[in-house]
């Protein structure tokens, strides 16, 4: 499951456009993988690592 899929699992109401406006998930092709580079959503809190890990489980 990708990071954007995990975020969507936590916040099912997110739209695709949110990921190119108020949220930015980025991959710098440096081996670190996907990460949340920006979270400026007006109402939803940035998910914690625990929340993201729980989705994977």
């Amino acid at each position: 499951m990708t990071l954007s899929e995990k975020v969507r699992a936590i916040y099912p109401d997110l739209q695709e456009s949110d990921f190119r406006t108020v949220i930015e998930i980025r991959n710098d092709a440096d081996g670190r993988g996907d990460y949340i580079a920006k979270w400026e959503h007006p109402t939803l809190a940035r998910p914690t690592q625990e929340q993201l890990d729980a989705v994977e489980e």
């Binding site: 990708t2 990071l3 695709e16 990921f19 991959n27 440096d30």
Partner: protein
């Protein structure tokens, strides 16, 4: 009309004539040996230091870079900005291309014209693609391809030329892409159709 005529040793002559207008002018002849040139002189008479053609005006020292991702098969996630990995330096006049970090770090300060293109193969048809040029990780310019439904297919997606100012030491330029659904960058072996990040110095600072 006053003029001075200087005759050649065997034939011909040259007239020195003042214009028939008010005012005073002067000509200073330097203490050097050489040939005076006029507006009618042939370009071959000019010293080599004088610009005589467009090739003299275009600076041969202007930095140029062009790097490509050829058949890199870079798998990318949906709804994620992915830096495009590059594996080939096509042109690099000033040691600017860093294939390890997939970036260009100009070594001459100035304004650079930068453009790019990403070759994208989609796992399924998608609705949106963005291509962006970034300086030091921050977006400088981006172009968005979007349809009303999932109908965007495999192909090359270019971004227009944009101007990026670089300090010539630490500033770097990268190419990023965003897709609505999972895809693969640079899944093609043809060099001319591969992902590209290219540019050149427009004006030094």
């Amino acid at each position: 009309m006053a003029k001075i005529r200087i005759k050649g040793d065997t034939s011909g002559y040259v007239d020195l004539q003042a214009p028939d207008v008010a005012g005073a002018g002067s000509i200073t002849v330097p203490n050097l040996s050489g040939t005076l040139l006029t507006s009618a002189s042939d370009s071959s008479d000019f010293p080599s230091a004088i610009l005589t053609s467009t090739s003299d005006i275009t600076p041969s020292a202007s930095p140029v870079f062009d790097m490509r991702g050829i058949n890199t098969d870079q798998d990318i996630s949906a709804e994620t900005w992915n830096k495009v990995t590059m594996n080939t330096s096509t042109v690099d006049t000033n040691s600017m291309i860093d294939l390890t970090n997939n970036r260009v770090t100009p070594t001459v300060a100035g304004y650079y014209a930068v453009s790019g293109m990403i070759r994208i193969n989609f796992d399924t048809l998608t609705q949106i693609v963005l291509v962006g040029i970034r300086k030091n990780g921050s977006e400088v310019a981006a172009v968005q391809y979007q349809l009303g439904s999932d109908n965007i297919q495999n192909g090359q997606y270019p971004i227009h030329t944009t101007i990026v100012q670089c300090n010539g030491t630490t500033d770097y330029i990268e190419l990023y892409g965003y897709v609505g659904d999972a895809a693969t960058f640079s899944d093609i072996t043809t060099t001319s159709q591969s992902s590209i990040l290219s540019g050149f110095l427009v004006r030094a600072t």
